[in-house]
């Protein structure tokens, strides 16, 4: 076997193009998974909305006081932050199982492998859409700074999803090969939830704000959350995200090209 060749790159590009072309397959698979999880439950995925809502309602007053911030703005901040964080955390966690959980399909039918990652991202977007109700309710109750800059939120979400795909591909592959990684990712994610300005604001760090700025997840949350609350996300956030998007995709594409053919053997 050749260690690397341009043919690998072509096949990987073909795989990605195939997934983008056959959108109906991963859209159907993603929907089915959401349905499967909530079948025979009356509220279905809206249970997630309720649980996120309860979290915001419960944690808002407590953390607002603990952090000594104005509750009216804190509710909107916490709601948007939590919903965006849940999207990121959901994609990261589910990506670990993207290929492993699709073992039977991967071994029987030749489908683009990247399709499994798009299925995971899509499924989490469906859940995000359900959670988005919380954001709307909170923003109606505690009106933010309305304006055209809110249109940057869909853009931020798109960029986040583009990144979710490479993160999903990378994690999906690593986790299929090394089965200890999902556990590590899970623990890390819990830690990152507290380290990332989700419940607290980056500016409360004062001189130590660098601790938030060096955290890529902070910038991902920022580009989706800030347009809904205050205004456009900072240039630094966009620059960081842009840099990560390019480097992340380049590296992942190379790794995917090299090991794409091995995934069926790993799962």
């Amino acid at each position: 076997m050749v260690w690397f060749s341009s043919r690998y790159l072509a096949l990987a590009a073909q795989d990605l193009a195939g997934s983008l072309f056959d959108t109906h397959v991963w859209i159907a698979l993603g929907w089915q998974e959401v349905q499967q999880r909530y079948r025979r439950s009356k509220l279905g995925p809206f249970w997630l909305t309720i649980s996120t809502g309860a979290m915001v309602a419960g944690m808002g007053p407590l953390y607002g006081r603990l952090l000594n911030v104005d509750l009216t703005t804190y509710f909107a901040y916490l709601a948007t932050s939590l919903v965006v964080w849940q999207l990121i955390a959901g994609v990261v966690l589910d990506s670990c199982q993207a290929f492993i959980s699709a073992e039977s399909v991967i071994k029987q039918i030749k489908l683009p492998l990247s399709m499994q990652v798009l299925r995971v991202v899509w499924r989490n977007l469906i859940i995000f859409a359900h959670n988005f109700i919380i954001i709307i309710v909170v923003l109606v109750l505690y009106p933010p700074n309305f304006g055209w800059h809110m249109l940057l939120m869909p853009l931020g979400l798109c960029v986040l999803c583009i990144n979710a795909v490479w993160i999903g591909l990378a994690l999906g592959m690593v986790c299929a090969r090394f089965r200890d990684i999902p556990q590590i990712v899970q623990s890390l994610l819990q830690l990152l939830f507290f380290l990332t300005p989700v419940m607290w604001r980056a500016d409360t760090l004062g001189r130590n704000v660098w601790a938030a700025n060096i955290n890529p997840l902070y910038h991902f949350v920022e580009i989706v959350r800030t347009p809904l609350l205050i205004g456009p996300a900072s240039v630094m956030s966009w620059a960081c995200v842009g840099f990560i998007t390019i480097v992340g995709w380049l590296l992942t594409f190379a790794v995917f090209a090299r090991f794409r053919g091995r995934i069926a053997y790993w799962v």
């Binding site: 076997m1 397959v25 159907a28 089915q32 499967q36 079948r39 039977s104 029987q108 039918i109 030749k110």
Partner: protein
Amino acid sequence: MGYIRAKDVVVDFPIYGGVSRSLKSTFLRAATGGVLAKDAAERVFVRALDRVSFEFKEGDRVGLVGQNGSGKSTLLRVLAGTYEPVSGELEIRGRVGAMLNIWLGMDLEATGRENIYLRGTIMGLRRRQIEHLIDEISEFTELDDYLHMPMRTYSSGMAMRLAFAVSTCVPADIILMDEWLSAGDSIFAERAKDRLRRLLDKAKIMVLASHDTTLISSVCNRVMTLDHGAVASMEDLPVEPDRVPAKVSILSFQGER
């Protein structure tokens, strides 16, 4: 269009975990199965297919035989395009239909209809194409209104009929089967056989892995024997097959085994 050519196809399965330490010799031949070996980096792997070469042309009905672990299923997956060979050349022309696991992608909590859509989508059909198939599947399986019920309410026979019907609803140039498909009680089994025969008649190439030599001699016109992942023999069967399992077996072939 149907054509398959393999030249020196090699498939290695990496073995992860603490196996390498317990393997004292560098080259072990397992009692059954592929050859265990180590590569330069001390990784242990099973050579599931060892320089396999063959050519299947239109009209070929190939029976794959060999003991458990000889590489039959692996070869089917290579032909399905899911396992990419480590080395060697593989050329496949034509649409491949793999019927390796008829339960693939089925969700017991979903209704029969939903399962047809789901499975159809995985097999590459568009929504509209599936809509056309529903009536036909409903009639063939005699499930009618049950198609609106969750599959978990089905008897095992009903579930089997549905899985069989969905698996066999898409025509393909090259059909791969791991053991012959059959389903249900005697009356249904007869109709299932007809349905499968019609599907196979449309196919240019069929590759069937089976332990049942009687079956192979009645549905295949070529037999490929695998042994420890290598092609041990390849022979043409003397009689033009009936393509349906017949009660009479061809003795000459049975004698070979």
